[in-house]
Symmetry: C2
Subunit: 383 residues, 2 copies
């Protein structure tokens, strides 16, 4: 087998700390199973590059990363030296640029964030049914509110007008909705196989094993809201086995809190998906455990990118306090994704997922440092 090659980009803040644990786990899995897996480290802290050339990453970063099969990212976002208020704060829009550049440059048009309340994860909701949360939020990741078109007229004056354009194409809409239905089917098959069936009612009284809920704000943002709705209705006809549902984003946020266990697959636009995934993450235990991935499922020449949902948390960086669990779940998901070409990687991904989940379940509520958690999981993998 040709080796699968990963670009490891630790990034800023707690990024390098949690990535170190991920790399340790990868080393153990590689040695244990003789995986055909290689990785290269790109230590590109935003601040260093910014001081040199005003950018947050080298200008040929995308070309370099394109050589790899996947990118494993720690976290981006660097507010500068926190103890030196006289130096500039690196604006978010600079230090986060590589994130949005990669999503765009590699056309990672799916952002996938599964939410399950695993044993040992913190439960914010009072209702015990929260234990049954098992949803997959799929965010359109290539256009919409994030196209960065617009500007500021009469900037800085009392007459200023700022515009921000949202641009949605039917092509990107169709592909993300279809992806949602495919994931719903895949999840249904998995559940049936594992004997954990669920049941969703359609409007005409049928019962289905899975559901896709489309989220829009079509009563107020109606141009793309209507297009999304029409695309959803057309594509749903190809999936009569999947129940469909439509929520407005404000109601969806409410229902995420009231009955998150009622959702299966949720499809949303770039910004609304950003909001819903953060909400789903907290409902399933918080940023410490939430994995995330930015996928290009259609072009195998383009690397997908895997990053925890959390940010760089500069306030606790360098202290060994960050929870590496989200990073390790993210790494497991990356292996699973790479397993589409090399099944041994998928198996390793599952093994890593199980080890992290077992560690979480066993240590609920205990205070442990970054390395301590990583170490415990490594031990499990070595056992």
């Amino acid at each position: 087998v040709q080796s699968t090659r990963i670009a490891v980009t630790p990034g800023d803040g707690i990024g390098p700390e949690v990535v170190a644990e991920a790399v340790r786990c990868l080393e153990i899995l590689r040695a244990k199973h003789g995986l055909a897996l290689e990785w290269t480290r790109f230590p590109w802290p935003s601040h260093a590059w910014h001081e040199e050339n005003g950018e947050s990453w080298p200008s040929d970063a995308l070309e370099q990363l394109k050589q790899y099969d996947a990118i494993l990212l720690g976290a981006l976002g660097d507010p500068g030296p926190m103890d030196d208020p006289d130096r500039y704060l690196l604006p978010d829009s600079i230090s986060l640029a590589p994130l949005l550049d990669m999503r765009k440059g590699f056309d990672q048009w799916v952002c996938e964030r599964p939410a399950r309340l695993l044993d040992g994860a913190r439960q914010y909701l009072a209702d015990e049914r929260a234990k049954n949360i098992d949803m997959l939020v799929i965010r359109e990741n290539s256009e919409g509110e994030y196209v960065s078109q617009g500007g500021r007229l009469r900037q800085g004056t009392p007459d200023e007008v700022a515009t921000q354009m949202e641009v949605f194409t039917r092509k990107a809409t169709d592909r993300i909705i279809r992806y949602g239905f495919e994931q719903a089917r895949r999840r249904a098959e998995e559940r049936v196989r594992d004997g954990r069936t669920r049941s969703f009612r359609t409007l005409d009284g049928k019962t289905c094993e899975s559901q896709v809920c489309l989220v829009t704000k079509r009563n107020a943002l109606r141009y793309w809201g209507d297009m999304y709705t029409e695309a959803f209705e057309a594509i749903s006809k190809e999936y009569p086995d999947v129940a469909t549902h439509h929520e407005l984003v404000d109601a969806a946020c409410m229902k995420f809190v009231q009955a998150p266990w009622a959702f299966d697959v949720v499809v949303a636009s770039n910004l609304q998906g950003d909001i819903l995934t953060d909400l789903a993450a907290v409902l399933s235990g918080g940023m410490g455990v939430a994995p995330s991935c930015n996928l290009n499922p259609t072009d195998s020449n383009m690397p997908s990118m895997f990053e925890p949902t959390h940010g760089s948390a500069p306030d606790i960086a360098g202290q060994g306090l960050a929870d590496p669990t989200a990073m390790l779940f993210t790494t497991a998901r990356m292996l699973e994704w790479l397993g589409r070409k090399d099944p041994t990687l998928a198996a390793a991904g599952k093994e890593l997922f199980d080890a992290v989940a077992a560690d979480l379940a066993e240590n609920a509520g205990t205070q442990r440092g970054t390395h301590e958690i990583g170490q415990a999981i490594c031990k499990r993998l070595e056992a």
Copy 2:
């Protein structure tokens, strides 16, 4: 005193049912205190108008309503006869039009939604500190994502492009931010008076009695995000007694779930405010109790509009099941607002609020119908 005049628009679905209870309470309060208060009922169900002329309300609705000091709205949104699938579903964008028309037409540029977890209200969060939730979400209600500019190119084809423009002016930004700081001060004064002080830390280590948190998504939607941030920084200098804070909307939603008791006043854009207010509503007991108002604080010739946060709930309409609590809190807030001119109305508003809150506290968890709840509150007012 010249009479204060209210336009009562029951609207659709459960609207007329909950409004009936509100009117009963108003009648009692008027008789009891000899209030100089009049109202006129405008029974404009969306469906009837739509069948006649394709609109959801009469074309001169705004002119008629402009004659009043305030509008008390039940709910809008009519999906058509639910038992007759052969007839059209009235699209949301038609039946909700009057809501957005009033906000625009009367320049109701503030949408205010207080969130307190009152005794007896349902608590969705596990953490007991949720009892301390006491925030006011202030939504910019006149522009931004809701300007309805945009369109659909090549509509219905695979090459379709839908655009939606967001337009933000510095003028509207300044006024909503300043309004937020004023509310923070007012709330601080109230708390100090009632001996319920709170304390918020500023970045430079000072402690303040109140806080304004600005929500944007400036790391992705940077044109207006930057303008909002600059306006916020400039205006905050006029309020050195108020602590400031900035959250990105995704993180704000997360923190609403993790620690909603840490927020005081929250200022957000039209769409992000829409999302945050629904979330705040559910965290403080859900739609059954959440009041809302659309205010024009600057032009006394323009009526403000008061509506519960909930919708028309067509699935339970006509059955006497809807909880009128949110409508009654909304009515109390209207009286309080109208009390700026006539203090007897403010006192009546407070009396109504207290009666509704007492009823809620006493009947936590019991199943009661619309009229039963209304009746109990009327009895309290008569006592």
